[in-house]
Amino acid sequence: MTDTPKRLGAPFLGYGVGLRRPHWDGVFEAADRVDFLEILSENFMDAGGEPSVVLDRAAEAFPLVLHGTALSIGSVTPLDTDYLDALDRLVERTRPLWFSDHLCFSSAFGVEYHDLLPVPFTREALDHVVDRVRQVQARQPNIPFLLENPSYYVEYGANEMSEAEFLVELVTRADCGLLLDVNNVYVNSVNHGYDARAFIDALPAERVVQLHMAGHDDLGDVIIDTHGAPVIPPVLDLFRHTVERIGPVSTLLEWDNALPPLETLLAQNDAVRAAGVEVHGPYPRPEPRGQR
């Protein structure tokens, strides 16, 4: 296998899936095909009952990473301390290898949008997000924090730089990791007409701690990032290019809508893994949680 540099101290975990309710039972029986789990933070923050039981079981059985959608790192409204407190409790309970959220604003002016609204690629937004990433990192200084490049459907007239320029300066100045969503790069490249490979080549390889792979819906005039379909071959090709460019990176298959049977999900994960192994060769499976 090619070198597996630790990215911000984070190891290469292999190929994992998101933990979703319909698969809560089955995924624990499929540990030979799932190298790690990603949980959606908001689904488990302060939850009692079955989510709490499943969370403990997942943290025991798999390497675990957390992924959020509601941090609203780009919002002009101050960071929600209740949210951050709940996130801290989840981090401290599960001790994930890293935690992440999206470069976006998902709430502002007292309202939650439950969607990822894009921040403009401006100098003011950059300074603002850098400052807020540092606030988040200060609460968990020993666990890497990553920001994901989201899919976005509008390009603001106010933009002052490209998305890639914005991301590079953001992760460098904030000293955080990048969760590179390969499907989002593809979706954005088609929706906004840029070169996906050139975009990936512009990113700092050492900051890419995790990759996301997912499916999308092509409506003809626009591609919607639905996470509700299989990964298409061009996205797999872009993934291969990404791994060639930056080396093996922990890769997570997201499937959030129209959830398929677990076997379909596992087969997709096998396909992504096979594409990665084509590039970087065989890799050692992560050690069971208790032995790390």
Binding site: Y83, A108, E112, H114, D115, P120, Y156, G157, V222
Partner: protein, 243 residues
């Protein structure tokens, strides 16, 4: 345009305070693409509402005004009670109170039973998410710590039980004061609900007061066998936990 101005504009567009075309022109974006965000933000909340309050949605859609009523209620709810929590399901939390306000205002098609049903469904969700841990073992008779008592003007429990069995051709019951007991099953983790019967209320009191079966028999004047039978029945449901 400052970051705050831009976000205020996006906020107004998705909250329908500004028309999409006007917002798109000010933001320098394609209106069709901007409309995606307005639709998404609305759809997510609607999905949360319909997932958490399926009986209420069904009932209101079956009302004389049908889907029109549900659609208009949803639109008004979104304006009156925009989501305030990062927890998506919590977007449905304010719906029972909103519905009650609509009833008080005399809105056509909104019934007192629908208000009770919405409150019951939200209580089901809260029971599922209740932060208390139900202990696997106890030293004494203990009340399930996730228990919620819901006092209502309609007997919702039989209606909900029929719904959970897959029945959909349901008529609203006649009004009658009732108490619903909702709690999370200790091992299966789903929400159980029962109409408060004399047996269950008695077992609740025994558990609440920390009495043994013998003490409960002495205090209530009932035969020990009857007390044991009540406690066994309550334990079977998951309402109380016993050593």
């Amino acid at each position: 345009m400052t970051l705050e101005q831009l976000q205020r504009l996006m906020h107004d567009v998705v909250k329908q305070g500004v028309e999409v075309d006007a917002g798109a022109a000010a933001l320098g974006v394609d209106p069709a693409r901007l409309r995606i965000y307005r639709n998404f933000t609305r759809t997510h909340v609607r999905t949360a509402l319909e997932l958490n309050l399926p009986m209420t949605r069904h009932l209101l859609s079956e009302a004389p005004l049908g889907e029109t009523l549900w659609e208009s209620l949803y639109e008004d709810y979104l304006r009156a009670c925009p989501p305030r929590s990062w927890e998506l399901n919590a977007a449905a939390e304010a719906f029972p109170a909103f519905l009650e306000a609509q009833l008080d205002a005399g809105r056509d098609g909104v019934t007192h039973f629908a208000v009770c049903l919405a409150a019951f469904e939200w209580a089901q969700f809260e029971t599922l998410r209740h932060p208390a841990t139900v202990p696997a073992e106890v030293d004494a008779t203990t009340l399930n710590p996730t228990l919620t008592l819901l006092q209502q003007a309609y007997p919702v429990v039989p209606y909900a039980a029929r719904w959970s069995r897959g029945e959909r051709d349901l008529s609203p019951p006649a009004p009658a004061d009732s108490i619903a007991l909702l709690f999370r099953h200790p091992t299966r983790h789903h929400c159980r609900f029962y109409a408060a019967s004399d047996v269950l209320l008695f077992a609740m009191k025994v558990a609440h007061d920390g009495l043994s079966a013998q003490q409960a028999a002495a205090a209530s004047g009932q035969p020990l066998e009857a007390v044991e039978a009540a406690l066994t029945e309550a334990q079977r449901t998951g309402l109380i936990l016993r050593p």
